[in-house]
């Protein structure tokens, strides 16, 4: 709404000139990095929505055969959920400047995230052992595609996590930057959790 109210103004009128002269800064009350992250999340959302549309469209063809859902997927989902909650807890710890809790939180997030990724790879292995290769059926192809893409996004998040963790361990990060960094990581992680839950639900119900 801020955007639309701004583009309704007449910048050449004296009244508006007086208002515009007092403009000092940014369009949205957000740090630049946070705005960039929100845009990125919007782009990634479009990406997964398109994948979902392609999935739904392809599903309607007769050759579609649903995949079995290995129970390990539930365990992996729980890992991702817990890691997201730990990230939130770490974020509160940064705000309260509890350094040791921040370190513990970041360590736990790393362990859980790698656990999730390893778990997903094991699921791939289990499906392959049962003969469910990517080319065997379109449902299989989509499963590998969606889980693979989600995993890659998670790996991207781990790069940001690694950068933040190293700077925390070195103790060279100013408090405000630490708060922003952890908040962004936590937001990205929550987003990936929501994406995974949506994709998992899609795989379960189809």
């Amino acid at each position: 709404m801020i955007f639309f109210s701004q583009i309704a103004t007449k910048p050449w009128t004296d009244e508006q000139i007086a208002v515009d002269d007092q403009f000092s800064g940014h369009t949205f009350p957000l740090p630049k990095a946070m705005l960039a992250l929100r845009f990125l999340l919007a782009v990634v959302t479009v990406f997964f929505v398109l994948l979902t549309i392609a999935y739904s469209s392809r599903m309607s063809f007769q050759d579609w055969k649903s995949l079995p859902e290995p129970s390990l997927l539930w365990f992996n989902t729980a890992l991702l959920l817990i890691s997201s909650l730990v990230y939130r807890w770490t974020r509160s710890a940064t705000l309260k400047q509890h350094d040791s809790q921040v370190k513990i939180g970041l360590f736990l997030v790393g362990v859980l995230a790698f656990g999730f990724l390893i778990g997903q790879l094991i699921v791939w292995q289990q499906l392959a052992d049962l003969g469910h290769f990517a080319s065997a059926n379109p449902a299989n192809g989509f499963f590998y595609l969606i889980t693979g893409i989600h995993g890659l996004h998670l790996l991207g998040g781990l790069i940001a996590w690694g950068r933040t963790t190293i700077r925390v361990l070195r103790g060279k990060i100013p408090q405000d930057k630490l708060c922003l960094s952890v908040e962004m990581c936590a937001l990205y992680w929550s987003f990936l959790l929501v994406v995974w839950l949506a994709m998992f639900l899609l795989l379960l119900v189809t």
Binding site: T9, F23, H26, T27, A134
Partner: protein, 600 residues
Amino acid sequence: MTETTSVEDESVPPLEVPEMDLYHPHSFITRWIFSQDAKVIAIQYSLVAITIGMVALVLSWLMRLQLGFPDSFDFIDAADYYQFITMHGMIMVVYLLTALFLGGFGNYLIPLMVGARDMVFPYINMLSFWIYFLAVIVLVTSFFSPGGPTGAGWTLYPPQAITSGTPGQESGIILMLASLMLFIVGFTMGGLNYVVTILQARARGMTLMRMPLTLWGIFIATVLALFAFPALFVASLMMMFDKVLETSFFMPAMVEFGEKMSYGGGSPILFQHLFWFFGHPEVYIVALPAFGIVSDLIAVHARKNIFGYRMMVWAIVGIGALAFMVWAHHMYVSGMNPYFGFFFATTTLIIAIPTALKVYNWVLTLWRGSIHLTLPMLFSLGFILTFVNGGITGLFLGNVIIDVPLSDTMFVVAHFHMVMGVAPIMVIFGAIYHWYPLITGRMLHNGMGQFHFWVTFIGAYAIYFPMHYLGFIGVPRRYFELGETSFIPDSAHDLNAFITIAALVVGFAQLVFLFNLFWSRRNGTVAEPNPWKATTLEWQTEHMPPTHGNFGKDLPVVYRWAYDFSVPGAESDFVPQNMATKDIKLAEGMTASDLKAEKT
């Protein structure tokens, strides 16, 4: 020169956006190669885009040679021809136009025009260029791979894109898909920079509605690209799976050389939807920056404020939104529910409204303006004419009933070359003639420029006007040779030969332009500061060309919109954006109140 406004001035708001921590290069490599300065990155983007664009230009000559004089060139066979059209199309649309408008002009102009020292994430900006460069390298590699580059047509439609018989099906298609995915990753990095810099790093006083239309065009085009490219990424990735892992996302059951292939059940139409969900916004990703830039060129070189600035902004935003609702008009002959056809034909006609509004506003800006027939103005006028011509044939093709007989004929080729080939390139040329003095400190040679303009403009019409006629009489596109086709008269062959000669002449004019670019860098007339007497901030820097950090000690403060030309009462016929009202020199016999009264 620079208006470094005193920070103690009461009318100046306090600094809310802190000064950015600039990365200062310490060596030749960090200054000119792995540079984080948006201006250097812009030049890197532009040079790579123009270089690969030259490859596409040469490919078009080869195609025209074959079409104009079939059976005359032994070194062009049918497979080569399909590879030429594919690579020509993809390079021109994605690797030249998109990269040059957003990576080139976007990088150079955004920080300068908003009054910032650099992009907000310089390191990511640098990565963006290098990933783009890698994408271009991967693309070029396909020329030397077994089987050569893909010849699937720039739309890369499956199933033929990955089945045998299509040139480049061995590895060319894989390299093309990989290159596109790299391009999209690189663009996303740059795109986030452009959007956030425009939204969050503007100078004091630079509200959104004080931004020049160049920035509006680049801004909305970037938003479009950020949301459209994922569709191409998804399509490329799924096709890569189909090719490499033999999945069947897009591949139907097929028989090849009498044997059933492993594919089955896939939907080629699904690919088309994904491709065009990207492909149509792509037209506006190229057009919107052109719309924005040409608006500023016209205002500056006609010494007049742009007519209907707010409408122009709304039209850009409106076109951006509508761009996502018209994609299936590229698929009328692919088969769809008739109601869908009706819907997409209607939205296609609706998008003509804001587009026509822009054309009216350009013409009304020129109306009673002080038109200087400089090279940027000539190219701008060339753009308006060409865009109107290309746009009108778009109205023909947007209607299902007219599109069906014209589909896959040379009429379509003529249409899209006029509207999204020649027209935006006219703006690119105009923009280069306009901003070259800012970038290099020298003027481009006017004589060579005049030759370039007239040959390009007249030549483009010599190429594409007859091509519409060829389409009307049914000459199909994407045919290696017409042979003895009964319904095509001999005159069509003569016309094809004429078009080829015209294309070669226009191609030569581009070589003259390139020569001018390099020659004038050393030998051009030294440009005076702000040679076009423009109002926007990029011309108000302390040094010209602007140095690292763009502005002097203090960032500029903005007091007005970008179109204060010929302000009644002012001595000069332009008032820079960073000049306070109290600093404006009044014309003889005028008082400050006259200035204010006239403006109101």
